[in-house]
């Protein structure tokens, strides 16, 4: 500074603060760097997205709100054989060759899933695509969804689609196989029904036509014997008696065969059944057969079980009648009916001290017409045990036997899973006769 005379007398310094400026520059630099970073990140992301779009198997096509394609990935190109074309939505059907699943009706443009997506709809449809760029047509399933900006404004649509030609072929194959199977089942059922019908007709005619002549043979033999006995030699009478016996035996045979056939077609009627009551009934029914003999019955406590009472009665009737028959040579016949548990199942046993049989022939025991004794020793038709087996099998159970020649036989049977025992206190009082002789 100078004074009035012009001589220096001091100085003036001017100070300017540039801190703000420096800060602003730094911020700018930082922003520029961030921008660069985010641009790089965006590029990376875009690249990643691009490779994702390139690698997925589904075709992806997006269009803006005017219908201009903005994305068309390689899979889309591969599936429909063409890329993005600059054609308006109403010409997509023609241009890309899209049809309804009937493969001939052009796909209605307004129903195109991409167009519907642009209009804000989400939908899934099947269509058939065939055009000059493709070797063969393909079926595709496409799902369209709208594209929206953050504020919710419509920005176009995207459609994802895949080739379902193979799936459709598989489905068609499965359907065809199913139909064939169905047809085979129908045919087989018809054959079975026919066979069943034939069997029924056969049973009927056996029942009707075979019994009649037997009745005539037996009837007229009897009339001869009664009305002409005086003019006949005793030997002639004896022969007539044998004719009549034969007719009666064959009548029995026919009736038992019919019974066996009936068991086959009979529909089971499951009821909770007290087996002790069944045994009691059968024992009293068989009483006439034990006349003049000493038979000791030992009946244990048996369960109440779900089974068909009529058929189970038949099982006991056949088994107990056999026991009575084959103990005939014994002074004291002992017939025991007992039960035990095996693998959670009730096994019923019918044991006798009769003549038994050789276990070598056990396989023949349950066959129709199979007999292990001569007719002169023990009468029988050879159908009883076959009937027992059929009834037990019908209940889902098993039947088997153990025996020793001259020591007696034991027959065992179970009644299968459906015939679960029913625990009831009611059966107990009845079963108090356990081990008692009746």
């Amino acid at each position: 500074m100078k004074d009035a005379g012009g001589s220096l007398c001091g100085g003036v310094a001017v100070l300017r603060d540039i801190t703000e400026h420096r800060r602003a520059v730094a911020a700018l630099a930082r922003q520029a760097e961030e921008l660069l970073h985010s641009q790089q990140a965006l590029e990376t992301q875009t690249l990643m997205l691009q490779s994702v779009l390139d690698s997925i198997g589904e075709g992806l096509v997006a269009a803006d709100e005017t219908g201009k394609f903005i994305l068309w990935n390689p899979a889309a190109m591969r599936i429909v054989g063409m890329g993005a074309a600059n054609v308006p939505p109403e010409q997509w059907t023609d241009h890309y060759g899209t049809y309804l699943p009937d493969t001939v009706t052009p796909f209605p443009p307004e129903q195109n899933p991409l167009l519907r997506a642009i209009h804000g709809e989400t939908c899934t449809t099947e269509m058939y695509v065939r055009n000059a760029e493709m070797d063969t047509g393909v079926w595709i399933e496409s799902t369209g969804s709208p594209l929206k900006s953050r504020d919710g404004a419509a920005r176009g649509g995207v459609v994802a689609f895949r080739d379902i030609t193979q799936r459709r072929a598989d489905e068609r194959e499965i359907r065809k196989l199913n139909e064939e199977l169905e047809e085979r089942v129908t045919q087989r059922t018809a054959q079975l029904a026919a066979a069943n019908h034939e069997l029924e007709a056969f049973t009927y005619s056996v029942s009707h036509d075979l019994r009649a002549p037997l009745r005539h043979i037996g009837g007229f033999s009897r009339i001869l014997m009664e009305d002409f006995a005086s003019s006949m030699a005793p030997e002639a009478q004896h022969h007539l008696q044998r004719i009549e016996d034969g007719a009666r035996r064959m009548g029995l045979l026919v009736d038992e065969l019919l019974n066996l056939a009936r068991v086959g077609r009979y529909a089971l009627n499951f009821q909770v059944t007290n087996l002790n009551l069944v045994v009691e009934e059968v024992v009293s029914l068989l009483q006439p057969e034990t006349e003049g003999r000493v038979v000791s019955w030992k009946v244990a406590e048996l369960p109440s079980t779900k089974c068909d009472p009529i058929l189970i009665k038949q099982v006991f009737q056949n088994l107990l009648a056999n026991a009575i028959k084959f103990t005939r040579p014994r002074e004291l016949a002992v017939i025991e009916i007992s039960q035990r548990q095996k693998n959670g199942q009730t096994v019923i046993a019918v044991r006798d001290n009769g003549v038994g049989f050789n276990m070598e022939y056990v396989d023949k025991l349950f066959g129709v017409f199979q007999r292990l004794h001569r007719a002169e020793e023990f009468e029988g038709t050879g159908i009883g045990l076959a009937t027992v087996q059929r009834i037990v099998h019908k209940h889902g159970g098993q039947v088997w036997a153990e025996a020793e020649l001259d020591k007696g036989a034991t027959f065992y049977f179970t009644l299968g899973a459906e015939s679960a025992d029913v625990k009831s206190s009611e059966g107990k009082s009845k079963a108090a006769t356990a081990g008692a002789e009746i």
């Binding site: 049973t203 009927y204 029942s207 009707h208 036509d209 019994r211 009649a212 002549p213 037997l214 009745r215 005539h216 037996g218 009837g219 007229f220 033999s221 009897r222 009339i223 009549e244 007719a247 009666r248 009548g251 029995l252 026919v254 009736d255 019919l258």
Partner: protein, 158 residues
């Protein structure tokens, strides 16, 4: 035999069965007035007083019809259906006598209005017993219904 005084109409196509049935009925003195029809058509003519039996009257129905099921021309079930489906004949007792023990025959027979169902036993003693019981029951024990004609007469008499 007066065609209007028949106790039993026996319908059977088998001469053997007819002979055995008659033999059994004779033993019980029940065979005095029996008419035998050999097929369903003849049975219907007899029961409906038509054809060869046009001279017969609805007022004198048989007291009992023994009907076999398996018959030529018109089978037993059809005969039964006609008889039980007609007001003039439905009161006549009809006993089905057949060889068959088929449940379906039993069910159909009873549904059509059969009064009884007998399976002809193979054993002649049993057969005879069945025929005897049948004859005695329907001809002797049972009080037969009044025939339609007699019924009318009874009503008019009141």
């Amino acid at each position: 035999m007066n065609p209007n005084e028949v106790d039993i109409l026996l319908v059977d196509d088998s001469q053997d069965d007819i002979d055995l049935t008659l033999h059994a009925l004779r033993a019980e003195n029940l065979a005095n007035s029996i008419f035998v029809a050999r097929d369903g058509e003849e049975a219907l003519d007899f029961l409906f007083c038509s054809g060869a039996h046009a001279q017969r009257s609805f007022d004198s129905p048989p007291k009992l019809v023994l009907l076999d099921l398996k018959l030529p021309k018109v089978d037993g079930m059809q005969v039964l259906k006609r008889v039980k489906g007609d007001a003039r004949t439905k009161i006549i007792p009809v006993v089905l006598m057949t060889s068959s023990k088929e449940e379906q025959d039993l069910v159909i027979g009873y549904n059509l209005g059969a009064n009884s169902y007998i399976q002809k036993p193979v054993d002649f003693d049993e057969f005879r017993k069945a025929v005897k019981l049948l004859g005695l029951y329907w001809l002797v024990v049972n009080q037969p219904p009044l025939a339609t004609g007699k019924l009318k007469a009874a009503k008019q008499g009141q």
